[in-house]
Symmetry: C2
Subunit: 99 residues, 2 copies
DNA sequence: CTCCTACATCGACCGACGTCAATCTATCCC
DNA sequence: GGGATAGATTGACGTCGGTCGATGTAGGAG
């Protein structure tokens, strides 16, 4: 992925990157991501995310969807519960763009 | 600044970080920043930014203001023209948060 | 099958955002 | 001063995004 400092900067790259950064551009989502990234291996149950961020369950679900569609996290169903894990490659991708 | 993966994640930190990432969450601003960051030393004249991004002059001015208020760039007047330079420390700050 | 729980989706509200035309401000040149 | 140019600001418009209550869906327990 082309870094921000690159002279050549395609519109496609910009859109893809912007999508990722936009997902990080909300305090609640940043908080959610920090909670999820704190458990990279086993992941985190959604039931443990609602209370810490102080938002309603639908709102949390909405933000998780944004993070999912931005490729920053992945979800997995374990019985009744949904578990979320971070996608470190995507984080590295965005980090690499900030050079 | 606390990384995303940190357990302790203050609301203030989250807001400050989100502000920065939100500024990066738009293709036009990402494009502008890439053009500005391509000349870290002398900076770039606004007159050389309008045409490449394909937006009106007021729109470009608006996006530059967002980047400025997010701390990602600084502006300086040189006679009739305004020159913008990147703030690498701020970029590093955001990059460091993505760990 | 029925009830309960966990999570997603829907609908609505409202404020924020991207965009441009028009205008204002400041600087330069004559 | 007067005119020209660069850039910021304003105002308006349409869209997007965050939020919640209500509802839908799927799995577990009995």
């Amino acid at each position: 992925m082309a870094p921000v400092g690159s002279v050549a900067f395609g519109a496609d790259d910009a859109t893809a990157l912007a999508r990722g950064f936009a997902a990080l551009g909300d305090p609640v989502r940043l908080h959610l991501l920090s909670l999820i990234a704190a458990h990279p291996d086993d992941g985190v149950c959604v039931c443990d995310l609602v209370e810490p961020v102080g938002r309603s369950q639908p709102t949390v679900s909405h933000h998780l969807k944004v993070l999912r569609e931005a490729g920053l996290v992945v979800s997995e169903r374990r019985g009744t519960w949904a578990w979320y894990r971070p996608v470190p490659e995507r984080l590295a991708e965005l980090r690499a763009a900030l050079r």
